[in-house]
Every structure is written in C-alpha cells, then in structure tokens.
C-alpha cells in the first residue's frame, strides 16, 4: 500500500509536501548557522557560510520533487502499462468483461440517478429538517392523517409554543380569463406560508402580515415562465381570476413541493372559522431547541383542550406531524426505489462474478507463467497488485461505457412520465450520481480482482511448475473456486428472477382483474366552472345543454358526467348506514360519494343490477340556498355497499342514512349498480353511493363513449363548449384506457425494469456456466477420448460431464430459493394479489434456470464428444 499513500501525498497533498520540504530545508539551514556560531563565527559570517554550504536552494527542492514524482509514476505507470498490455493480448476477453461491467455499472448508475433525484436531493427550503407537515388525527375513527379544519388550525396557530411558525394551505382552482382561458391551481395560503417554509420570492415580495384580505397574488415560477415568458414586468399586473382582480406582487423560486402551484392567493385570519370541514393542509417550523417529542406532547395537550371545548366537532381530536423528507416521495415510492436499487445491485454483482470468473480462467491458463515469475523472485504482493490493477483497468473501462449507457437511459427517462416517481424530469448524472459510479467502480474492481488474486499460488510453486497444463483435475482448488462462483451467480439470478416473476404476476393480475367499468372507446376530460355556475342553476343548464349537444354527434354513443374522475380522482367519503337498523358489527362503512348524471352509468360502462337509474325526477340530496330541504332523497348504491348494509334483503326501496355522524340525511335506495375498481386497480371493489346531480350538485368530469378513436371527437367537443361558454377551460383530456394505464405506470415500470434486469441476469449466468464448463471439458478432452476409446457410450459421458456442470447450478438454485423465500417478505408492499412465497413462481424460475443451465452445459459437452478419440488422446 506504499504506492497508495504515495499517490495520496503527491496528488492530493502536493501543497503540504512542498511546504514541509521548505520547512525542512529552513531548519537545516538554521542548524547549520547554529553550528557555525557555536564554533565561534559571528552571526553574519555564520549565515553567509551556511548559505554557501547549503548551495542552490531551488535546485535541491526541484530534485526532491522529481524524486517524489518519479517514485509515484514509476510504481504506477509500469504496472498500469503491464496490465493494459496483458489485456491487449486478450482483446476478446477484455471486451467481454468491459461490456458486462458496463451493463452492471450503467444500470446501477441509471437507477441511482432516479433514486438521487427522488429521495436524496434536498428540499428548496431553509433548514428543512425542522419543517413538518401537521395533520389532525381521529384515532377513535381509525384515521391517522386528516387535513385540518380551519378553526382547529387557527387555534393551533394562536396557542402553540413549539413552533416558530405554522401556516396553512387551502387547495383551490380558479379560471384565469385574460387571454386564453385556463384553469389554474390557485391555492389560498395564510400570509406566513412562505416565511414558514423559508423561501423568499425571486421577484417582488412576499405577502405582508396584514394582507390576508388583499387582492394580491404571488405566481409560481413554472407558471410565470410558461404563461408570461419569465417577464420581470409581471409585478403590478392585474389578473382576472374567477371573475375577481388580483395584483401580482411576487414570483416564487422554482422547486417543490408546496411552491409549485400556479397562483397563490392570501387567506385571512378569521375569528369564527368553520370547525367541521377538513380542508386545510398545515406546515410548521419547529422552534429552535424544541425536540419533536416535546412538540408532540404540547400538540397532544392542545388537542385535548380543543376536544373538551368543542365536544361536537373535535371529539377524539389529536395532532401529529410528518417529517418534510416525506414530502417529495411517499413511503411506497421509497420502498419501490430502494428495492430497484437492490435489484440492480444484484445484477451488478452477477456481472462482477462473471468477470471474476473470466479473469480466473485466464489466470489458470497463466498458472505456469505466474509460477515462473515467483520463482524468479517477483514478490507475491506485486502479483496480487497486478491482478487488482488489471481489474481496476477493466472496471474503469466498464465505468466509461456504463456512463455512456446511463446517459442514454437518463435521456429517455427524463421525457417519461411515471406517476408516483417524482422529479423524473430532473434526473441527471449529477455529482452525487458520479460519486456513486466511482464508488461502485472501485467496489466492483475489488470484487472482480478478489478471486483471481486469491488464486496466485500460495503454496507449491514447484507443483505449479511441474503441473502439465492439460493434466486433468490438477487444479482442483481453482476448479472449486469457479464452481462456487457459478453457484453464487445462479443464486443471485434466482433472486432477481423470482422478484421479477412476482412483480410481473402481480402487475398482470392488476390489469386482468375484473374492473366493473369499460375502458375502451371512452374519452375523459374535465371542465372548470366559474363561481357564477353555482347560482340560479346556471351550472345545471350548461351540463344539460352540453350533454344534449353531444348526443347529437353520431360519433358519440353515450355521455355523462360525475364529480370525481374514476381511478385517478380524489375520494370524497361519508359514513353511511341503513336507516332502519344500526350496522351490525363495529362502526358503519365509509363510502365514497359520486354525483352523477343519468347518462353516466352507460357512458362509463357500469351495469344496473337492480331497481332503476336516476331520471328527471331525482333531485340533489342538498337543499338549495333559501329553499326547504328536499322531502324525498334518492340514491343508488354499489352492489358491495348494498350487500353490506342490507344483507339478505332487497336493498331497493330501503332507506339509508347519509353522512352518519355529521348531521345525517335520510335517502331511499332506488337502484343497485355493479361494483367497480373506481378507487384504482389496486384498491378492490369500491363502496360507492351515487347521488343525483342538479342545481346544487354540478359534476364537472365528463365521460364520453365513442364509436371510434376517442381522441378523434376532441375537436368537435371543444367546438361545442366554445359555443356554449367561450371562457370555459377544458383540461386533462385523456382516454379512459390511458387513465387506467397511467394509474399503474409505477407498477409497470417496476415490472419492465425487473424483467429486463433478470433477462440480463439469466444471460450472464448462462455465460458464466458455459464458460466454466467449456473450460473444464476442454481440459478433460483426452480423458473423454480415452473413455470413448474404451467403449463408454455417448450418453454416459454426457451424464458425467453435464452432471458435473449442473451440480453447482442445483446448489445455486437451492440457496437462491432459500434466500428468496427469506427476503421476499420485504417485497410484500410491492405486490398485489400474489403471495411473496408464490410456489408456482418459484417452481417456474427454478425450471427456467435449470433448463438454461442445462443448455449452457450441453453445448461444450457435445463439442467434446464430437472430437475423434484418436485426436483427443494424442493431445496428451
């Protein structure tokens, strides 16, 4: 390791080397002067004589530097040259190794770059470690993360001492109507919001403390760039948002989360705020010196006070907070990415094993050369270093190729959109990623070099020298080492194949499950209504005439509207119970509610299982402002919900209690609708209450069933809307197929990546098996020839050789199976509808590996048997 420390000193601490040298020479001079003065010279003379004796200072320094550098370069350069020369002697093998390593390193780098962007890159906020998201809890109802009610937020805001600041964010959308109408996200935030996060506008100013009611707006960076071209004159501009005017006062820096919306409006501190609707997200900055535990204790005390003061709304209230590191990626994404990182690590490991195997084979061929070298006095350490350096050269070559591969993959990834994987468009080969690549390059070169280095003959140079190159079974030790490598390789490949198989099966289960709704030939889009649509039934008028105009189009077979888009929309829920009897076991079910037009069921392909569909006579369950509550309410239930509420009864005609525990409205069940995976493919049949639309419930998500390509009707739909209301923005236009496929894209990515990885793993493993066996068979050619000459049948020889090749494979499959069974429970959160220990997957993977291995063995054995025994024997 002398040369390593020398590299360190000379390359990285060059300055320090120079200054110590300076100091050393100065101290020498001083001692010289002291000596002369002790001999009686006066200080002037002593100094002069000493300087003369020392000679030319700079020349000395230069000589020393030369020597240092020389020592470094000599050691490194000659050995590097040697190993490069050795590799050039065998270009095929070098290329093979470099390619395998490039695959391993490139794939790891790509996955890590996604990992880095999603999980490692810091948030754009000052001191983000002290930032938290605050949530309410209602543990008595099993809810551990609920948004804040406005009143609870202000109570917390006014009383907490654990937080330097707390602020709230209220989701909101608005129609921007100057120029091209556009639906924009326009959340309302309390004036301290950005100060709490610790971001300052890049342009203009933040909301001031007294601006809660002012008509001012701050723009998000992306929106400012795309809509206004990043123009600095934006400050002072007046925007028309949902028929109100707002003056732009600032522009936020780029970044996420919380600050990547389009327009921010201030929200006032209201003394008599609402306590019963949970609509506010809250963030807080822990005060310095306050531990999270202390803050939680204080919050708990506050929650108890509030619950006591407001028993009706705040019963069972609690507060909790989540660390800011979870803001970018939810836990499921973290798990998935970590898992992919492990998977790619396994792939890289297999590549390493293969390269080690090739180097080992080459080392065997050079056994005698190495023995000669040792006999001639080469230090063993030097030989080990040589092997290691060779592996380093190969890995560096692999890393360069791998980086090129990763750059190409990253380029593709940046344009892909996979919900659930954040910041994919910001993935890149940034410094941390490159450090990672450098790290794994070093590790791989150590791993690849390890086995060949161990093999440099430790004992018995004489044996090695004596050993005939073709003597069968002589290097039993190395043979065992290589078999062990094959075993390791097969076990690792087994792990990858099993996880790929499980994830793939789970993905296919997702896609092929019964969905309830029909997705083909369906178009979806959403409209954003201005506030005025809530008055005088204007919204209903619009929806009615819009749907009527659509039905006139011969390309459109049916159309309808709903308040929440299936599969990708948010969920609005309520507690629901049968009116006549209380729910049998535990608390009543929590069901999603959807406001629909009568045509919706047909448009989305849901069957009516009993009773009737909604019609003109069905009115919304809520009262219009200033009107008496409706005397008779009607609802439809999804089949699963109906069975739950009215087991063994016909639900049609029965009465239910809607929003149980929050007022409670009585409603008659008029129909039962088929179950569907309305909450997403991985959620199971949804419990849904369908409510009729009307003047106080205007759905804005539209579904259109078409005769042909759904996207083809978009222009005519656009034209119809423009004729009805030119200021109405049309958004999120997608086919239902795309909606569904997008909702499972992270699962799809997992399967695609894993299947690709395991394909490569299988390829690498079979190459490894093939390499080992073809080598050992070629060494046994004469033995086989002899056996055949003595009358052994082809099949018996095949049995011996293939059996020898397959033994390590079988051991590998067993070990891999055991490890996979043990590790697969970590896979559970990624699987849907498949058990981690799915016997058929394990069996299929074992069979696949076994057959591939048998093929890899068969080829070299067959070749050996084809050789003429006479020739084979003459080889001896």
């Amino acid at each position: 390791m002398q040369w390593l420390s020398s590299i360190w000193r000379n390359l990285f601490r060059k300055h320090a080397v120079d200054s110590t040298l300076d100091e050393e020479i100065r101290s020498y001079l001083q001692l010289l002067v002291d000596e002369k003065m002790a001999a009686g010279a006066d200080s002037e003379t002593a100094r002069r004589e000493a300087a003369i004796e020392l000679g030319a200072l700079e020349t000395i320094k230069e000589q020393v530097r030369d020597i240092r550098r020389g020592a470094l370069l000599e050691g490194l350069w000659t050995e590097l040259r040697q190993s490069i020369r050795a590799l050039r002697h065998n270009p095929g093998m070098a290329a093979m190794c470099a390619l395998m390593l490039a695959l391993g390193i490139g794939a790891s780098t790509t996955i890590f770059s996604v990992f880095e962007a999603a999980l490692l890159r810091p948030l754009p906020f000052r001191d983000a470690g002290r930032l938290v998201e605050l949530v309410e809890t209602r543990l008595d109802r099993g809810m551990s993360e609920v948004a804040f009610s406005e009143a609870d937020f202000w109570d917390l805001h006014d009383r907490t001492k654990s937080f330097e600041r707390v602020a709230a964010y209220h989701n909101n959308e608005a129609n921007l109507t100057d120029g091209q109408p556009e639906k924009v996200s326009a959340p309302q935030v309390t004036v301290e919001f950005f100060r709490t996060l610790g971001v300052a506008p890049v342009l203009g100013r933040d909301f001031s403390a007294d601006e809660g009611r002012a008509n001012v707006a701050i723009l998000g960076n992306k929106f400012w760039k795309t809509r206004y071209g990043g123009n600095a004159n934006i400050l002072g501009k007046v925007l028309r948002l949902s028929d109100r005017s707002y003056t732009v006062v600032g522009v936020l820096p780029a970044g996420e989360p919380w600050i990547d919306d389009q327009v921010y409006l201030p929200y006032p501190h209201r003394p008599n705020a609402d306590r019963s609707s949970w609509e506010f997200n809250a963030v807080g900055r822990l005060a310095t010196g306050v531990t999270p535990e202390a803050a939680k204790t204080e919050l708990q005390r506050l929650a108890e006070l509030l619950a006591a003061a407001n028993p009706k709304e705040d019963k069972g209230l609690g507060f909790d907070f989540l660390p800011s590191r979870r803001w970018i990626a939810p836990d499921s994404t973290r798990t998935a990415l970590r898992f992919l990182l492990v998977a790619v690590g396994i792939l890289a490991l297999i590549a390493c094993v293969n390269v080690a195997n090739l180097l080992l084979a080459r080392g065997l061929a050079r056994q005698r050369e190495i023995a000669v070298r040792i006999a001639l006095g080469a230090a063993r350490a030097r030989l080990v270093r040589f092997v290691m350096l060779e592996s380093l050269v190969l890995c560096t070559l692999g890393a360069v190729l791998g980086l090129a591969l990763a750059a190409a993959c990253v380029h593709v990834l940046r344009t892909a959109e996979i919900p659930g994987i954040p910041r994919l468009d910001e993935v890149g080969l940034y410094p941390w990623v490159l450090y990672f690549t450098a790290g794994i390059t070093l590790i791989t070169s150590l791993l690849c070099g390890l086995a060949p280095a161990l093999q440099t003959p430790a004992q018995g140079i004489a044996t090695a020298l004596r050993e005939s190159d073709r003597q069968a079974g002589a290097s039993r030790r190395q043979g065992r080492l290589r078999s062990m490598l094959v075993t390791a390789e097969v076990a690792l490949a087994f792990l990858l194949l099993v996880s790929a198989g499980l994830v793939l099966r789970s993905f296919q289960g997702l896609l092929n499950g019964h969905r309830g709704f029909e997705t083909t030939h369906r178009l979806m889009f959403s409209l954003s209504y201005p506030d005025s649509y809530g008055e005088n039934g204007r919204g209903k008028q619009f929806v009615d005439s819009f749907l009527e105009k659509l039905s006139a189009n011969p390309e459109i077979t049916s159309s309808g509207a709903v308040n929440v888009r299936p599969v990708e929309g948010p969920n609005f829920g309520m507690g629901i119970d049968a009116a006549s009897h209380s729910f049998a076991s535990g608390s009543p079910p929590w069901a999603g509610w959807r406001i629909i037009t009568p045509g919706y069921l047909r448009a989305v392909g849901l069957p009516l299982l009993g009773g009737r569909n909604f019609n003109e006579t069905d009115k919304p369950v809520w009262a219009e402002r200033g009107q008496a509550p409706p005397s008779h309410r009607t609802v439809m239930l999804s089949s699963a919900l109906a069975k739950l509420l009215f087991p063994n009864e016909d639900p049609v005609g029965k009465h239910t209690l809607l929003w149980k525990g929050q007022g409670g409205l009585d409603a008659e069940v008029v129909g039962v609708v088929g179950d569907s995976l309305e909450r997403g493919l991985d959620h199971g049949a949804a419990l849904t209450v369908y409510l009729p639309y009307g003047r106080v419930g205007v759905p804005s998500e539209f579904v259109i069933e078409t005769r042909g390509d759904p996207m083809a009707v978009v222009p005519s739909v656009r034209a119809v809307i423009k004729r009805l209301d030119p200021n109405l923005p049309l958004a999120d236009i997608r086919t239902f197929d795309d909606v569904v496929s997008l909702s499972v894209s992270s699962q799809r990515m997992n399967s695609v990546v894993l299947v690709t990885f395991s394909g490569f793993a299988l390829l690498l493993a079979s190459l490894g098996i093939y390499g080992v066996l073809s080598y050992s068979v070629s060494r046994r050619t004469s033995e086989i020839g002899l056996r055949m000459a003595l009358g052994a049948s082809e099949s018996s020889i095949l049995r011996i050789t293939v059996g020898q090749g397959l033994l390590p494979v079988l051991v590998g499959i067993t070990i891999g199976g055991a490890i996979a069974a043990w590790l697969s429970r970590y896979l559970k959160s990624l699987l849907f509808g498949v058990q981690p220990f799915d016997l058929s997957t394990y069996a299929a993977v074992s069979a696949l590996l076994f057959v591939t291995a048998a093929l890899a063995c068969f080829v070299p054995c067959r070749r050996a048997m084809r050789t003429d025994p006479a020739i084979a024997l003459r080889l001896e």
């Binding site: 002398q2 020398s6 110590t20 040298l21 100091e23 050393e24 020479i25 101290s27 020498y28 001083q30 001692l31 010289l32 002291d34 000596e35 004796e53 020392l54 000679g55 030319a56 020349t59 000395i60 000589q63 020393v64 030369d66 020597i67 240092r68 020592a71 470094l72």
Partner: protein, 111 residues
C-alpha cells in the same frame, strides 16, 4: 579529502551510509551529514544537494520514516528513523558490500 567524482561512481554508497547511521538512532538531516563525515573519517562530506533527494527517495521506498521533533539545541527539525523494511535493506546491503569489498580486495590484491 574532499568528496570527489570517484565516490559518486559507487552507486548506493550514500544509501547504505544513511541506513547505517540511522540504525543507531533517529537523526535530522544535518546530524546525518555530520555523522557520515565522522564515521568515514571525513572521506564523505554529504552536501544538502545530494542528501535531501536521497532522504526523500528512501522515504518513498519505505525504508525511512520522518517526524518533526526538537534538535539538541531546541530547534524544530525533521528527524528520520529506520523502518523495519529499512533495517532489512541495511542487512542486505551490508552483506552485498561485504562480498563486493572482499572480491575487490582479492582482485586488486590488497593485503
């Protein structure tokens, strides 16, 4: 006798001398140079121009290690000491020199 070109011909002379001198105790540069002069009865006067490169080369080779310390008159100075490897080197070189000098003496018929 002043150091002359002849002496430089004997490659490795300086190295062995430095190793030998340091085998007794750690020493700083000037000390090494003075001690060599003393033990060779002033045959070798090692100048800084050859001393420093030699010391650093031997340090690179791992024969010597260096530390800062106090000189006998309380000056800060860099002290060199022999490493295990240096000691081995000294033994080997000593053997070599023994053989060479015996051979030379025989050849040149020095009594």
């Amino acid at each position: 006798m002043p150091p002359s070109a002849n002496i430089a011909l004997l490659q490795g002379t300086l190295d062995v001398l430095i190793l030998k001198v340091l085998a007794l105790e750690p020493m700083h540069g000037l000390g090494i140079s003075r001690r060599i002069a003393q033990v060779t009865k002033d045959t070798f006067q090692v100048k800084p121009g050859s001393l420093f490169p030699a010391l650093h080369r031997m340090e690179e080779a791992g024969w010597l290690s260096a530390d800062w310390g106090e000189s006998e008159n309380n000056r800060r100075a860099k002290f060199y000491r022999l490493t295990k490897r240096g000691l081995r080197q000294l033994k080997q070189e000593t053997d070599n020199w023994g053989r060479i000098s015996a051979a030379m003496a025989g050849a040149l018929e020095i009594p």
